[in-house]
């Protein structure tokens, strides 16, 4: 492949002129800790799951599935960039925070396991994210409402894709059914955290920024029950829920994920490419 010509000063001048006004200005209300905290939760969920899914790149069961998973990963990383840039500076937040400062839920940081577990995790997360973003399009925070409106179409696709695969794997061979059940058993204990409401979410709900997830918990459970039913899988018994991601208490897996994700910017600070 021929290499690209070097960037000339006159190209930089043209790029500077065509840059949308205010594109890289700091967010106007980054000082609002309730808003920034809520945006960080949403952004971290998307970022960590995007990074997890990208681990499949080059390893998926077929080249088509490889592309599907990479597309979903890129959608999520795009959402994370928008959300974290509203909470502060996305690159700084993504690459210069340590484990205890991440606010993502436990479900998204779980290792991929096999393809069945990855798809179960995706179904459980994307269904929740879709119902949440549908409601966030009416947020009083205009920036968040805008991001949600853009992302909700992407997430609708993720949700359908994951449901299609869970149905095929659950209702497939003896082996695929067993693996899907194992994946479900692994992921199920992380579902209650998605509906946890602490003081921070309560404050964001009161401010009209956030949505109370309990408003759609019944709808979520009904939808997951329906999808699992179509896959011929039983809804698992509720286990002792695992909570704490929103307060920075994470599984050991997140540290390993961050070590890979943050290696380059930490080893070569402010590297440009």
């Amino acid at each position: 492949m021929p290499s690209l010509p070097p960037i000339r000063p006159e190209d930089v001048a043209v790029a500077e002129k065509t840059r949308p006004h205010g594109a890289f200005d700091p967010p106007s209300d980054a000082h609002d800790p309730v808003r920034a905290g809520y945006l960080m939760r949403l952004g971290d969920d998307a970022l960590i799951l995007g990074q997890r899914l990208s681990e499949w790149c080059g390893h998926a069961p077929s080249v088509e599935v490889d592309l599907s998973l990479a597309n979903v990963a890129l959608d999520l990383i795009g959402q994370a960039t928008l959300l974290l840039n509203e909470a502060g500076d996305a690159d700084t937040l993504a690459f210069k925070r340590d484990v205890l400062d991440f606010r993502n839920c436990w479900l998204v940081e779980q290792p991929n396991g096999d393809f069945a577990r990855t798809m179960v995790r995706q179904l459980l997360f994307s269904t929740w994210q879709h119902m949440l973003y549908q409601r966030l399009t009416a947020s009083r925070d205009e920036a968040l409402a805008g991001i949600a409106a853009k992302a909700v179409k992407e997430v609708a696709y993720h949700r359908e894709l994951a449901a299609e695969w869970v149905i095929r794997l659950g209702d497939g061979t003896e082996e695929s059914t067993k693996r899907t059940l194992d994946g479900l058993a692994w992921c199920w204990r992380f579902v209650p955290e998605l509906f946890e409401v602490d003081a921070e979410v309560e404050a964001a709900v009161s401010a009209g920024i956030a949505v109370d997830p309990r408003d759609f918990e019944a709808e979520y459970r009904a939808e997951i029950t329906r999808a699992l039913g179509e896959a011929g899988l039983p809804v698992p018994d509720d286990q002792r829920p695992i909570l704490g991601g929103r307060r920075g208490h994470h599984s050991e897996h997140l540290g390993h994920l961050l070590a890979i994700m943050q290696y380059l910017p930490r080893t070569y600070p402010d590297a440009k490419w």
Binding site: P61, S62, V63, E64, V65, L67, S68, N71, L161, E164, W165, R168
Partner: protein
């Protein structure tokens, strides 16, 4: 997956144009084939509509018959509508 059938993918680039053959994907069934086609061939806004059809359902001409099928048309220039002037406003002919 080695036992997945092959599907041919047709993409309509924009309203008013015909679906054009873009390539093929492997998929276990039609629904997933459509998703694979979407993820493989329309990631960069290439299309507004997709068709997939099982490759085995396509009836193709035999390359060995190319002589009798296509060569007789070679010297029949009068079949080409090239003796008309096409107005600039007419696109996609």
């Amino acid at each position: 997956m080695s036992d997945w059938p092959l599907w041919e993918v047709f993409v309509r680039s924009k309203g008013g144009l015909a679906h054009r053959h873009f390539g093929s994907v492997h998929a276990p069934d039609a629904e997933i084939a459509l998703r694979h086609a979407r993820d493989t061939y329309t990631r960069r806004m290439e299309g507004v509509s997709l068709w997939v059809v099982r490759s085995s359902d396509i009836v193709a001409s035999d390359p060995d018959d190319a002589g009798q099928l296509f060569e007789p048309a070679a010297d029949k220039v009068y079949r080409h509508p090239t003796f008309y002037e096409i107005p600039d406003e007419v696109k996609h002919i």
